[in-house]
Amino acid sequence: MNGAAGLPAVAAILTAAFLIGGSALTLIGSVGLIRLRSFSERLHAPTLGTTLGTAGVAIASIIYFSALESGLVLYQLVIVGFLLLTTPASLIILFRAALLRDQSESGREAPVQNGQQTGPQPDDRQAR
């Protein structure tokens, strides 16, 4: 660990805390990817990583490097911002694509296409 020796204890502990918190949340999100039963549910899981998971690690990094270089290092914010900006775009396309795929294969309409259908809809299809 080059250079880390001179780090203030508070900074080190904060870094460690945020780091552990962020990565733990990310891990939980990924576990959700395994544990949740249907696609729609699984799609919720990774947002843990893209929001607080990323934020935690980024904050840890900001604290660490700011302390290390004795000045504010905010580069990591770019990453967080970028993720916040882009995640909706990809998830929206993916979700709708999945819904439309289900629809065309089952013959049923997707819950959003005609704006009529309301209420929860079971989507536990396991077929490919």
Binding site: S40, V78, P120
Partner: protein, 162 residues
């Protein structure tokens, strides 16, 4: 002004981005950052990106704080669900919410909020009927969700993108 700086907020964002990337506030980098901001704005004209009318900075801050809190809360909630610490039977499902919001940036922001909040997913927006459909991981009360979206977010967004 609008010819030179058609997207002032976006250009400002790019300027900040530039400085963040370079980790320095030297004059040279500031000039470069300004150039990048201007160029970025012009590129957006070519791409016919709609102009944003951003008002009420206070509302923006309020919304941000609100969203942040929601994100933290729902992160914990979803984490609990994933880890099986939940209580009763959980029921995922779709919720449809009639919206007044039509402004593209407002919708985009709403999409961002909903997507970034674990537990909710943007499933589509029907322009003709103005109906937003979201998918909810833990759907206990449909009405609760409709209210949350409309009151917590939509009203603020309508305020911001007046």
């Amino acid at each position: 002004m609008s010819r030179l700086l058609p997207f002032p907020s976006i250009s400002a964002g790019l300027f900040i981005l530039w400085l963040l990337l370079n980790q320095t506030f030297s004059l040279g980098q500031i000039l470069l950052g300004i150039a990048v901001g201007l160029l970025g704005g012009w590129a957006l004209i070519a791409l016919e990106v709609p102009k944003a009318r951003l008002g009420r900075p206070l509302a923006v801050l309020r919304l941000a704080a609100l969203v942040l809190a929601d994100i933290v809360r729902s992160n914990i909630a979803v984490a609990r669900i994933v880890l099986g610490l939940g209580r009763r039977e959980r029921r995922p499902g779709f919720v449809q919410i009639p919206l007044e919001l039509r402004e593209p940036y407002g919708l985009a922001a709403l999409a961002g909020i909903i997507t970034s909040t674990p537990g909710t997913l943007w499933a589509g927006f029907d322009e003709t009927s103005g109906t937003l459909t979201i998918h909810v991981l833990d759907l206990t009360d449909e009405g609760e969700w409709v209210r949350t979206i409309k009151n917590r977010y939509e009203s603020l967004l309508l305020e911001i993108f007046a």
